[in-house]
């Protein structure tokens, strides 16, 4: 009994820190409609800095914590400045920028503090009531959190400044007309997010040591808490945080600590489902995706439509003939990743949703194919089952999550990503952390693929088929509906497109593509481990698509090719002698994170649309000018004097 109460108290304390992170998310969302992925980063950096201040520089308590919180605030302002820096950036692009920054911060954290967990003593002492022992730190956390929540609640609901900030997201244009500096308010909101996240981190580190990657769990937990209040209401976020914290603490106490993210995900999904059932009437917070780059132009010369693709296919099929073993592996990887990124590009470009967990769907496909064929299924059937399972799983998640208009899928998929890796490593039947081995080769009947070159041809064939399927999908009637969806949800709804259903379908398709690639990967590798499907891989897919360009088919191909090559270079660099073991990771995080940010700010529609636009401009095809199209959902009108990016 007393154990239960202790779990409850520590759960409430941890929940309070999640609620603090969540309140930071709410502050940013209320003012800017941006979902801030870097919310957990503020906490981690603040906690790390406090640890250094206490243990390395021997500063007194109080000062050290204050420094940590101040750094959180500064980081919040910095992230805000970058995410809101460009006028007319859509909330979804800003979301990806915060994600990129969070990832780039990983690199900094690893370099400065290494990969060991950091902690420091909090308030010493325990409160003893009978046989009950409650750490004073827990009580401190609960007290501080309640005070802060009261403060920010009053700020947003009772002060003029707070109302002015809320008005910014409610109607940015009108706010500007009233003379409210929308971007400055947004910046302050990010500062507030940094401050709140910093406080959470500084309070949490004494009871829960932190590593550089704790921020993902914190951000997911904070998000799940904030979802209770639809990212708008502070009191519900506090309640959500506490429910979540208690649930996690009970699960960790009675089952296993690594299931934390599963709890967060389960709670998140449950809340969203409940909200989705509730809602239907009121206009939810709306968030429209960036318009995809102009669709494939109308009448093109015959040679462009027929000869060029044929030539491309022939070349793609011929390439394996000229490659040696290690280059063949790279080539296969490229083809498989291309299949995944084409799906992600559809999802991002047309449904305006972001998945930070495509590697998880790849894993589902890979494990499905591997398990089935290990249990004696013919490889072909196992291969075909993989995309089905991945797609169904995605649809199941997507139905509640995609009902919410705002971009909740990003967090949900990230939670899936973490959960899946944790689950796979913990289930003996799935091979635990050593994964599955001696997966048979792919084959049909008695014919089997025996060589790398054979897998290269299989991969390239699948990639080509997927490419054509997707092309036809875009050109079809549902495809046109998708484009309507990408331009305006309300408009799409009014011409009778069932927005939610389409989003779910696109999400399922993208997951199915990932599952298909995963299946080939499993056969080709012969062995798979959970670590092969990390968050980093999901991040890579995201970078590939954004670099290449959303809503196009050429974009992901180019992005994939560039990134796979870049990856080789980074690996070579990171494994130089004398480098710490985490160096390749540092490099990848830094490069991918920065790439996301730079590309989104400099080429918001990706490289391929940008360069094809330039190409057309230079070579004088007059019919161009996809100019003047404001990014829908942009906080303010496009800055008129700015050259458009088309």
């Amino acid at each position: 009994m007393s154990l239960l109460i202790e779990y409850l108290v520590s759960g409430i304390a941890i929940g309070c820190t999640l609620a603090l992170v969540g309140s930071g998310l709410v502050a940013v969302f209320r003012v800017t409609r941006v979902i801030n992925f870097a919310a957990g980063t503020f906490s981690v950096v603040a906690a790390f800095l406090t640890a250094s201040a206490l243990q390395t520089w021997h500063l007194p308590h109080g000062l050290a914590e204050a420094m940590g919180v101040a750094v959180g605030l500064g980081l919040g302002l910095g992230v805000g400045a970058v995410a809101l820096g460009r006028r007319g950036l859509s909330p979804i692009s800003a979301l990806v920028i915060t994600f990129g920054l969070a990832i780039a911060c990983y690199a900094g954290e690893l370099l400065l503090w290494g990969d060991l967990p950091q902690s420091y003593p909090g308030v010493p002492g325990t409160l003893t009531v009978g046989k009950l022992f409650i750490q004073d730190q827990n009580l401190l956390i609960i007290g501080v959190t309640l005070a802060i929540f009261a403060g920010i609640w009053l700020f947003f609901n009772r002060t003029y400044l707070g109302k002015g900030m809320t008005a910014c997201a409610d109607n940015p244009m009108a706010a500007e007309m009233m003379g409210i500096d929308v971007r400055r308010m947004g910046l302050w909101a990010f500062g507030m997010g940094g401050l709140l996240g910093g406080i959470a981190g500084v309070l949490l580190a004494p009871i829960q040591p932190m590593t550089f990657s704790s921020d993902v769990n914190l951000a997911i937990g904070g998000f799940a808490a904030a979802v209770f209040g639809n990212l708008m209401s502070l009191d519900l976020a506090l309640l959500g945080g506490i429910v979540l914290g208690v649930a996690e603490s009970l699960v960790a106490g009675y089952f296993q600590a690594s299931y934390e993210s599963i709890v967060a995900l389960a709670v998140m999904i449950a809340v969203m489902t409940w909200r989705a059932i509730q809602r239907r009437d009121q206009s939810d917070v709306e968030d429209r995706p960036p318009a995809p780059a102009a669709a494939t132009g109308g009448a093109r010369a015959l040679w462009v439509r027929v000869a060029l693709p044929l030539f491309g296919i022939a070349a793609a099929l011929a390439i394996p003939l000229g490659l040696n073993q290690s280059n063949l592996t790279v080539y296969i990887t490229m083809c498989l990743y291309a299949v995944i990124t084409i799906g992600l590009s559809l999802l991002m470009g047309f449904a305006g949703q972001i998945s930070a967990g495509q590697a998880a769907f790849m894993a589902i496909g890979a494990y499905t194919a591997a398990l089935l064929s290990l249990h004696g299924w013919p490889p072909l059937l196992a291969f075909l089952a993989a995309p089905v399972v991945s797609g169904l799983f995605a649809a199941l998640i997507g139905i509640p999550v995609l009902r919410m208009r705002a971009n909740y899928l990003a967090f949900a998929t990230m939670a899936i990503q973490l959960m899946l890796v944790a689950l796979l490593s913990n289930i003996p039947a799935l091979g635990g952390s050593t994964g599955l081995v001696s997966i048979p080769n792919f084959g049909i009947g008695s014919w089997q693929i025996q060589s790398l070159r054979g897998y290269a041809w299989l991969s390239v064939a699948v990639a080509v088929i997927i490419l054509f399927l997707s092309r036809n999908l875009i050109a079809s009637r549902p495809g046109r509906a998708l484009r309507a969806l990408a331009t305006s949800e309300v408009a799409a709804e009014s011409v009778g497109v069932h927005v939610m259903r389409f989003k779910v379908v696109v999400f399922a398709i993208s997951a199915a593509y990932a599952g298909l690639a995963g299946a080939i990967y499993a056969f080709f590798m012969g062995a798979i481990t959970p670590d092969g499907f990390s968050l980093l891989l999901s991040l890579e897919f995201l970078v590939m698509v954004i670099v290449g360009g959303l809503g196009t088919l050429a974009g992901p191909l180019v992005g994939t090719a560039l990134l796979v090559i870049l990856n080789q270079v980074l690996n070579t660099l990171g494994t130089q002698p004398g480098m710490p073991a985490y160096m390749p990771e540092v490099l990848s995080y830094a490069v991918y994170g920065c790439t996301l940010v730079v590309v989104l700010i400099a080429f918001p529609h990706g490289l391929v649309p940008f360069f094809s636009g330039q190409f057309r401009r230079w070579f004088g095809r007059q019919q161009q000018a996809p100019t003047a199209k404001p990014v829908p959902g942009a906080p303010v009108d496009v800055e008129p004097q700015r050259q458009s990016w088309g």
Binding site: K163, M173, A174
Partner: protein, 226 residues
Amino acid sequence: MALLEVRDLVVQYGQAVALDGVRLEVQPGELVTLVGPNGAGKTTLVKTLAGVLRPVRGTVQIHGRAGFVPEGRQLFSELSVEDNLLLGAWRVRSHRPPLDLVYEIFPQLRSMAHRRAGTLSGGQQQMVAVGRALMGDPQLLVVDELSLGLAPVVVKEIVQQITRIREKTNLALLLIEQNVRLAFAWCERAYVIEGGRIVAEGATKALAEQPAIYEAFLGGRGGAAQ
């Protein structure tokens, strides 16, 4: 000195030119209307005056305070009516904003002070939008599409209330209106904008007699709707 002076204003959306060398003036206390077909650039001008859009070239000078009623009302729909009104005074940061003044002009709003603005009817929302613009104690009121979607009686009421305020203060008005008949009857001077350029200007009486303008805006069904 003119209250509002717009000189050679050029505003673009990307490459598309929406305003091309617009000049316009409003004197203190003057009633001016700006008319033109759909897509002529009227709303663009208002947004530029309000500082939402930045001009590529040219200047906007406002020697005094301006209040804006944006096209389509644009209330803060999640905030209460009263908060909407209060935020209208953001520029002046007044500690005793003239809430009562607005409630005097639009008495029905008083009972709705704590309702979410998004739940009001169109006409009521327009009243809030006008009230919000008046909260900053403006010398110039810029109204984009006063009568859009409103019943004639409501328009009449709002016009009457604005006229009443003008009896007490020297409020100038820049009115953008599709109902040109109403606009010309009310205002002293008019500008006609087409394709981002001012194509005619002058006293409304004189303009109304020009055949081309009569044809385009006042003849036929142009003003007969109300």
